[in-house]
């Protein structure tokens, strides 16, 4: 019986969510009274494995193979599957990253299991894990139980566990060389790229006014733009606004856009789906303006106005101008 945490690296760089997941592993292995193992897959990863071994766990598996150099769903699934068949963990934890979403469901299927994805908390009840996950875009939570003997698979949402609380230790590193066959890897990945140099750097903004679906149409964007101008803020948006082309992609905040931590983040007409929240919940002060009092954005907001943004925002512009002595 053990807990296995699968850490993530790309091109020799850690995905920082790996440490949050290892933290969850330390906590759960403690509660279950089992061993904790960590694994890292790639090519030329000895240094990364050594770094992971400086955290408290009993063993770090360096899953090493030339065919793991660039991530592919087929190679990673086969490699981690081989490791799990060898180590036989009861619980396998992943960070909920885009890479994990690409291969971990496939991996779980090979064990006739389901990946319990987007998990925000785990508790142990009579020796079995109960996973708390988001439903309906974060409007509701659900407690999910698993059965069938395991191994159980779960991916943990960013920010659900605190990496700062990780305990240090000295684990042994064990090399694990999976048998992989180049012919069975169907995905042929090319080099990652960015669409264009980012002209807008939202990460340095002190104040951000961000707009979401509530704005209804492109022609209404200037209403929020004016508030940003009055506050001296950068204008940002949630994904649907950029998808629709109402604002450029480089102004997107969230998991596929920029991650920001300004002094003030003002969310206007943004319901607060988890993909957006992970990009802004580090803001010092969060203000939400939304007509739906039950919108998930109010769960992270310090200040809120429940109301029609088309009335509230112009009123705010006027009050800000007054406060600045401009009106």
């Amino acid at each position: 019986m053990s807990v296995l945490v699968v850490l993530e690296q790309t091109g020799g760089k850690w995905n920082r969510m790996s440490w949050e997941t290892l933290m969850a592993g330390q906590q759960l292995a403690g509660e279950l009274g089992t061993d904790l193992h960590a694994a890292i897959a790639g090519s030329g990863i000895a240094a990364l494995a050594a770094e992971a071994a400086a955290k408290k766990c009993s063993k770090v598996y360096a899953v090493e193979h030339d065919l793991l150099k660039d991530y592919t769903a087929d190679a990673y699934t086969a490699a981690i599957e081989a490791l799990i068949r060898e180590v036989k963990p009861t619980l396998v934890l992943f960070p909920h990253t885009y890479q994990v979403r690409d291969f971990a469901p496939k991996l779980a299927t090979r064990f006739s299991q389901v990946l319990i994805s987007d998990v925000i908390a785990v508790r142990i009840e009579s020796g079995s894990p109960v996973f708390v996950r988001l439903l309906f875009q974060g409007k509701l939570n659900g407690d999910v139980r698993v059965s069938g003997g395991g191994p159980y698979f779960a991916s943990l949402q960013a920010g659900s566990f605190r990496a700062e609380a990780l305990e240090a230790g000295s684990a042994t590193v064990e090399n694990f060389a999976p048998a992989l066959d180049a012919a069975s890897i169907r995905q042929k990945p090319e080099a990652p790229f960015r669409e264009s140099a980012r002209a807008v750097d939202l990460t340095t903004a002190e104040i951000i006014v961000s707009v979401g679906r509530g704005i209804k149409e492109k022609d209404n964007i200037p209403i929020v733009e004016e508030l940003a101008k009055a506050l001296g803020a950068e204008l940002a948006a949630s994904r649907p606004i950029c998808d629709a082309g109402w604002l450029p992609m480089e102004r997107q905040v969230g998991s596929s856009g920029q991650t920001v931590a300004p002094k003030v983040y003002m969310a206007v007409g943004i319901s607060g789906a988890i993909q957006h929240l992970v990009g802004m919940k580090g803001a010092k002060t969060i203000v939400a303006i939304n007509k739906d009092a039950n919108a998930p954005i109010f769960e992270v907001a310090d200040y809120g106005i429940v109301g029609d943004l088309f009335e509230v925002v112009p009123a705010l512009v006027e009050e800000v101008k007054k406060a600045k002595g401009l009106a």
């Binding site: 299991q113 090319e190 990652p192 669409e195 939400a288 769960e299």
Partner: protein, 255 residues
Amino acid sequence: MKIIVAIKQVPVRDSQLRVEASGRWIQENDLSFEINEPDAYALEEALQLKEKHGGEVIALCAGPARAAQTIREALAKGADRAIHIEEENLNTLDTLGVAKLLAGAVKAENPDLILTGLQSDDLGYGQTGVVLAELMGIASSTIIMQVEVNGQSIRVKRELEDGWFQHIGMPLPAVLTIQSGINKLRYATLMGIKKAKLKEIKKVTVSELGSAASTATIDKIYVPHKSKQTQIFEGDAKTAAAKLVEKLKFEVRVI
């Protein structure tokens, strides 16, 4: 090429959700339903690929009788025919259970390409497409923002985190999960709505597809416990705005 699009019907986006008495699901009787948004983009992508390369688009949907409305809308937008797997309690199945049903219904079709949205707006597991590919023994790729078909292979643009992308090649048949915003959605035309009435919807029952037992079950659903105290400013727009600005000026000190 033959393209299957797996679509799901979910409560409309702004629904006020209430937990039903059992505590395991939401009250559905007073809700309206619509196509899962990422699935709408998958359908649009399928229609555009058909317009470019020829072939057929088949809408595939597992769900209760009410899902027929969403299937009709997919046909009105241009899907050629549909398969409706009738399952009244879809929410009691886990993704493996649902994917098994979909795989069973798809088998006889031998599609070149299967598209679906990257996640559902209700359960949000984000993996039905990937599991379906694994059950069928074909390649998959997720969070796709562009699809190029070159004969028997495809090249897709996959979204990575933090504004990065990557092109990936793979052979057909394959399953792709489509990201919202990949294309511009069309509306059904009046002619399309008329034509949809004559298109075939093949109904399949769960028992014809074999069992779909689940290992993951939802024990309880509930409104999230608030981790933060939110100070809500009451009153009309002007009053609330004035109180907020006062806070921003004298406590947060950014004005």
